[in-house]
């Protein structure tokens, strides 16, 4: 962000999207299945669920932004990962009871990261290509709420991801795994 050119809104949002989702990818890199699904507190989410929820949320909004099917659906991950019920196939985990969220099993950290990496590449390219009019175009968020595409990108690709990064960091610390300081 050192030059005038880098102050373009879409460029900044694309970089922020790539950086935020990159932190989620780093937080699950190399985890064992046990670490990915560990319940560190009766009311806490697992690292696997948090990362899945972050990716699914961004993917859902990305689909609304592009008008195309979500990556999750295009790759058939719900069926491939044995998550065929509607809440897993179509939803992003918001509002799930804790015990349901804690029961999520993903095949491996690498499988989850593969989804996240491809999603990150798609979303950063799509956001970087938005012009000012497209950033202001209303899209559907969650519920019946509409919001400008630029706000949706920042809210659900960036801020939502970063907030869960705080949760990932605490959970990693509780598992005696290193977490970045800030």
């Amino acid at each position: 962000m050192k030059t005038e050119a880098t102050l373009s809104t879409s460029g900044m949002l694309a970089r922020a999207t790539g950086r935020a989702l990159g932190e989620t990818l780093a937080a699950i890199d190399g985890l064992s299945a046990e670490q990915l699904h560990a319940v560190v507190h009766p009311r806490a989410n697992t690292l696997g669920w948090i990362a899945w929820h972050v990716f699914r949320t961004a993917d859902l909004i990305g689909g609304r932004l592009s008008g195309e099917p979500e990556l999750w659906a295009r790759r058939g991950y719900a069926a491939a990962w044995g998550l065929p019920s509607e809440s897993w196939a179509d939803g992003n985990g918001s509002g799930q009871p804790t015990e349901v969220a804690q029961a999520l099993r993903v095949p491996s950290a690498e499988a989850l990261a593969e989804y996240g990496r491809e999603l990150r590449a798609e979303l950063t390219a799509a956001v970087g290509a938005l012009d000012e009019a497209e950033l202001a175009r209303p899209i559907r968020g969650f519920g019946d709420r509409e919001l400008p595409a630029g706000d949706a990108v920042h809210a659900f690709f960036v801020l939502h991801t970063i907030r869960h990064q705080g949760e990932l960091n605490v959970t990693r610390t509780l598992l005696d795994l290193p977490a970045p300081g800030y």
Binding site: M12, H41, R43, D151, A155, L159, R163, G166, V170
Partner: protein
């Protein structure tokens, strides 16, 4: 939130999300008892009180002092004296034991400080010119950075990460976590 008819400017974007992060942090502390504010469940990184205070103080320092060399809301209102807390330090690098021992007068007072900082910052950011946002300020510990980057990192991203921490600690205390 920008409406579709309004230009999607950096000022609107930054002011909107600074306000939103502050609103959520304020909501995440306002209903706590003094005991909950200072609780440190096993494994928790910091108390909720320390974390929220640290975010509010960091934003106050950056936008008022680092950008303009103005007195912070913290100093203007004499809160360092009233609360018996550091005048300048805002918690970065504080020893864990010192952070855990930090005592605030209560959730209502902390939320009021958060509101005062939010109400100071949001209109300032809305009024910043493009040139001002591109301009450089020295912000510890990052060094010389464009002001927009400082707002994005120190207020929006930093506040959001700590909001995620607070969500976990609230759950550990048996409280509902803020919805992201």
């Amino acid at each position: 939130m920008a409406s579709p008819a309004e230009p999607y400017t950096m000022q609107r974007y930054a002011a909107h999300f600074v306000g939103r992060v502050f609103d959520q942090l304020i909501e995440a502390v306002a209903d706590l008892t003094g005991e909950e504010l200072h609780a440190l469940p096993a494994g928790a990184p910091n108390t909720i009180g320390f974390t929220a205070w640290h975010v509010f103080r960091s934003a106050d320092n950056v936008v008022l002092f680092a950008f303009e060399r103005e007195r912070t809301v913290w100093m203007r209102e004499g809160l360092h004296e009233a609360w018996g807390l550091p005048k300048v330090a805002q918690g970065t690098g504080m020893e864990p034991a010192e952070a855990a021992a930090l005592r605030l007068p209560g959730a209502a007072a902390l939320a009021d400080y958060g509101r005062a900082v939010r109400d100071e910052l949001v209109p300032r950011i809305e009024a910043m010119s493009d040139d001002y946002l591109r301009g450089i300020s020295r912000v510890v510990p990052w060094g010389d950075v464009p002001r927009l980057e400082a707002i994005g990192q120190t207020v929006i991203v930093h506040g959001s990460q700590h909001l995620g921490e607070i969500a976990v600690v609230r759950r550990m205390l048996g409280r509902d976590a803020p919805l992201f």
